[in-house]
């Protein structure tokens, strides 16, 4: 053993470097994820003076009818949205994958719109459409848009692209041979749908449903803007913490919010594992054939959905340019004069851009490095398994819970990292931690596509792992890195959930400003700020598409067939 190591000092060096990297990554995950959540859990069983009081806080919570009601409301909303979004996204994805309707790429693009906006934006759009002064007020199916109805529609719109991406992937992976076999055997279309299409997509559907369920539970932008008197857990936690500075009760609601998310997360992992087993490497991709009736129906359905999404977002944009809704509809830019309003003025937007940029930059590098260490390190199996598990944890922790945990953990005077409290740094770090998992999976997938033979060749050529990383792995993974960075950028510029507890006067953010302006009754300026965020996100998204396209053309040519 000793002799071996001496023979190849480079391998030894890089090996211990990677080992240290893995340990560091684990420590990082502990500090920025596990310990804050732990602080929240422990605070929920303490009284105001920090003494342990068991489950007394929870007992109080469950004895207060108004509080209990919001837990119930949350579940109803989450269930309704999950049903609505999963089924509508399935139909949309079905149209994209299983029909030959025209304009697929346009529909694919339009479905992404809500991802470029903070969740408050569709809610604001709905107010201008269906509010008491809404342009098509009468069309709203419920009595009033303020309340459960408005929340369900707003959140469904906002979650739609998230569900669509997952279901779309599931449908596009379906095996053509099964459909062929069924057809040859004379199975009617409706039975093929039930026995081939649905089962193949079922894990995607389950996964999408669970993602939507978690997103809906944790979002508070929509219920805050359009919920009226309808309280949910997410607004409740905010009310306790910001409104009453009652951190113990905030922690209690946080735990209640964490539990269903953990459950959904556990279920998702369970089904994911099953799905991997059912995959076949020799599957042939499905190619739809023309069918006039089917294609027309698909086209109509997708148009209705896409127009709906565009109308809601577009309405918020239009309202931001109106002088005095609804009495003076002339055009103005006055709503963009943010310095005269709550929310932190234009500085908030600059802060948001800075925050999103830093999150994208630092986050991409860190996450990619962690994925690389985990994927390409040999040995240290247990540590790597632990790291892998930790990397999945952020999916199960709602942003509000993470943010509150950060207050408890980092605002403690004995914490050596206390100084990051109230700075841009804590906003960046919390956002990276909150959105860790999806980029991590993207990076891991990209790394898996790089043959391990490279590593063997590098070893035999006495090229260090670090050099291999720089010269081969990183350049090959550039498209994935771009995907990761744009994902992080968009997430950072639109998020409110964790950062709403963590921003300070010097680090106000645009998305938080939308909330504050709406809260002060300045709905049109809130719409204006949402428009600014939306436009920024769109520009970044377009730059990303351009970059990716040119990158594929130049450096990845060898990978294309």
């Amino acid at each position: 053993m000793n002799v071996l190591l001496k023979q190849n000092p480079l391998t030894r060096l890089s090996f211990s470097g990677q080992g240290a990297g893995i340990v560091l990554s684990i420590i990082g995950m502990l500090v920025f994820l596990v310990l804050p959540v732990w602080s929240l859990l422990s605070r929920s069983v303490e009284n105001k003076d920090g003494e342990f009081i068991g489950l007394a806080n929870f007992a109080y919570y469950f004895q207060t009818p108004a509080l209990l009601e919001s837990a119930w409301n949350s579940l109803i909303i989450a269930a309704a949205c999950t049903l609505l979004v999963t089924s509508s996204a399935f139909l949309y994805a079905y149209a994209l994958n299983r029909t030959s309707m025209p304009g697929k790429s346009v529909f694919r693009l339009l479905a992404q719109l809500p991802m470029l906006a903070p969740s408050m934006m569709p809610a604001i759009g709905l107010i201008y459409l269906f509010g008491n002064q809404g342009v098509i007020k009468e069309w709203f199916p419920a009595d009033s848009v303020y309340g459960a109805g408005g929340i369900i529609v707003g959140l469904s719109l906002w979650c739609f692209p998230h569900a669509l991406i997952i279901i779309n992937t599931a449908l596009s992976l379906s095996d053509k041979r099964l459909h062929e076999a069924a057809r040859v055997m004379g199975t009617p279309a409706w039975r093929r749908f039930l026995t081939v299409t649905l089962p193949a997509a079922r894990y995607g559907l389950i996964s999408a449903a669970l993602v939507v369920f978690t997103l809906v539970l944790a979002d508070f932008g929509v219920p805050k803007v359009i919920g009226g008197q309808f309280d949910v857990l997410a607004t409740d936690i905010y009310k306790r913490v910001v409104g009453q500075q009652n951190f113990q009760m905030g922690a209690v609601v946080g735990v209640l919010l964490l539990l269903p998310s953990l459950l959904a997360f556990g279920l998702d992992r369970f089904f994911q594992r099953k799905q991997q087993e059912s995959f076949s490497t020799s599957a042939v991709p499905y190619k739809p054939e023309a069918n006039t009736t089917k294609d027309t129906l698909a086209l109509i359905y997708c148009s209705v959905v896409a127009i709906g999404l565009m109308t809601v977002i577009g309405m918020a944009i239009y309202a931001s340019f109106v002088t005095f809704w609804p009495y003076n509809l002339s055009f103005t830019l006055a709503n963009y004069d943010f310095d005269m309003m709550d929310g932190g003025g234009w500085d908030a937007w600059f802060n948001s851009i800075e925050m999103a940029f830093l999150t994208a930059l630092i986050g991409s590098l860190c996450i990619f490095l962690v994925a690389w260490l985990n994927e390409k390190t040999k040995g240290l199996k247990q540590s790597r398994n632990l790291l892998h598990l930790l990397a999945f944890m952020p999916l199960a922790v709602p942003g509000l819970v993470l943010g509150l945990g950060y207050i408890f953990f980092f605002n403690h005077p004995d914490n050596p990292l206390h100084w990051i409290y109230g700075t841009m740094t804590i906003l960046v770090l919390s956002t990276i931690a909150h959105y860790f998992t999806v980029p991590y999976l993207t990076a891991t997938t990209a790394l898996k596509q790089i043959p391990n033979e490279f590593s063997a060749v590098a070893d035999s050529l006495k090229v260090s792992q670090a050099q291999l990383f720089r010269r081969v792995t990183l350049p090959l993974s550039l498209p994935a890195l771009l995907d990761i960075s744009v994902y992080l950028f968009l997430a950072a510029i639109t998020t409110v959930s964790a950062v709403v507890f963590l921003y300070s006067t010097d680090t106000t953010l645009a998305a938080v400003a939308i909330l504050n302006m709406d809260e002060a009754g300045d709905t049109s300026p809130a719409a204006a700020m949402a428009t600014v965020v939306f436009v920024s996100a769109t520009v970044v998204r377009l730059i990303h598409s351009g970059l990716t396209a040119s990158l594929r053309k130049h450096s990845q040519a060898w990978q294309l067939k």
Binding site: Q133, F220, D236, K239, Y327, D339, I362, P413, V428, D522
Partner: protein, 341 residues
């Protein structure tokens, strides 16, 4: 490839993240406030031109939030000065021993009711903000909802679902409404009144200006708010009538105080001195009819006339010492219908 250049580009950025901000030679005062956001820029500019060596760093929120924040930070105060917070809130902070008494220059020119009555006052008032009802005439006609003349009118069935008021737990305006009703109607009758009112309220908002802004844009017909917000919206062209109910109007002072333990006492005192100068009072009078120095008062455009006569004989001491009990009772009775926060 060019990863080294990328790395070099990264370093200064990382430095920006890590550094806590540029060093400035000025004294930076952290000022907590519930002044309206559209007033802050002007107030800050006027003060800083008189005292160029001091830099104001605002932390703004609704009255209840600022109060809760100050109380939560009691053992580790972050604010140096409070400029523009309800006098009832400041009295509460005084009772908690959180204020630094100081007798600002020129305090004798102020109305008696605008100064804390201790020998060395703990707070001094800037201006009075007064409860009012914002009534949207267009929506009123459309919905067949007549203009109310009194507070009691609002409990009539015709107003059901057409009234929005601020949550007193977060909003200072909401609290002055509730405390004035209790003072005017008596404890029992006031709660009975609010029970009736609650039936007609479509929702309680977080901030005191929002009901009036919602009335201005026709989202509701009636918003219980304060006069300044109504005047401001009217100026913008909103079809509003600002109604001052016959029973009388609740009001509170927005006042200034120094937080005990500040290490910028000298600058804090300068701000307190300046906050009651003639210049400052003239500035407040652009927005509020009743200010600390009566001789500067001029009619505010679109503001209801003679509003001073309808202001009730407000017992601040009573309101301050009962504030928490009133808010707890209110929350117990009505909180299910509140805006989040």
């Amino acid at each position: 490839m060019g990863y080294k250049t990328v790395l070099k580009g990264l370093l200064p950025l990382a430095a920006t993240v890590l550094s806590t901000g540029a060093f400035a030679g000025k004294t930076e005062l952290t000022v907590y406030t519930a002044f309206e956001a559209d007033q802050l820029k002007e107030y800050e500019k006027s003060f800083e031109s008189a005292h160029p060596d001091i830099d104001i760093r605002w932390v703004r929120d609704s009255t209840g939030i600022v109060t809760a924040k100050l109380l939560a930070e009691k053992n580790n105060p972050k604010a140096d000065v409070v400029w523009g917070l309800a006098a009832t809130s400041l009295m509460l902070l005084k009772q908690e021993g959180m204020l630094q008494p100081y007798k600002p220059q020129g305090v004798e020119k102020l109305r008696k009711s605008f100064v804390d009555n201790a020998a060395t006052p703990s707070w001094v008032g800037a201006e009075a903000w007064v409860a009012s009802i914002c009534y949207n005439t267009v929506e009123g006609e459309k919905n067949n909802v007549p203009a109310p003349a009194s507070w009691k009118d609002l409990t009539k069935p015709v107003y059901k679902g057409h009234v929005i008021m601020p949550n007193p737990n977060s909003s200072g305006t909401g609290f002055l409404d509730v405390s004035s009703w209790i003072q005017m109607f008596g404890e029992e009758n006031a709660w009975a009144y609010m029970d009736g009112l609650h039936q007609n309220i479509s929702r309680y908002t977080h901030s005191g200006s929002k009901p009036c802004k919602l009335a201005a844009s026709g989202e509701t017909t009636i918003g219980i708010s304060f006069a300044y917000r109504g005047a401001k919206s009217k100026k913008k062209g909103a079809p509003l009538e600002i109604i001052t109910p016959t029973e009388g109007l609740g009001w509170d002072l927005e006042a200034t105080a120094i937080i005990k333990g500040t290490d910028k006492l000298e600058a804090a005192q300068k701000l307190m001195d300046w906050s009651i100068t003639r210049e400052a009072n003239t500035m407040y009078n652009k927005y509020y009819a009743v200010v600390g120095i009566p001789s500067v008062e001029k009619q505010v455009p679109f503001y209801p006339e003679n509003i001073g006569k309808k202001m009730i004989d407000n017992n601040f001491e009573w309101a301050a010492s009962n504030r928490q009990a009133i808010l707890a009772e209110w929350q117990n009775r009505y909180d299910g219908k509140s805006d989040p926060k």
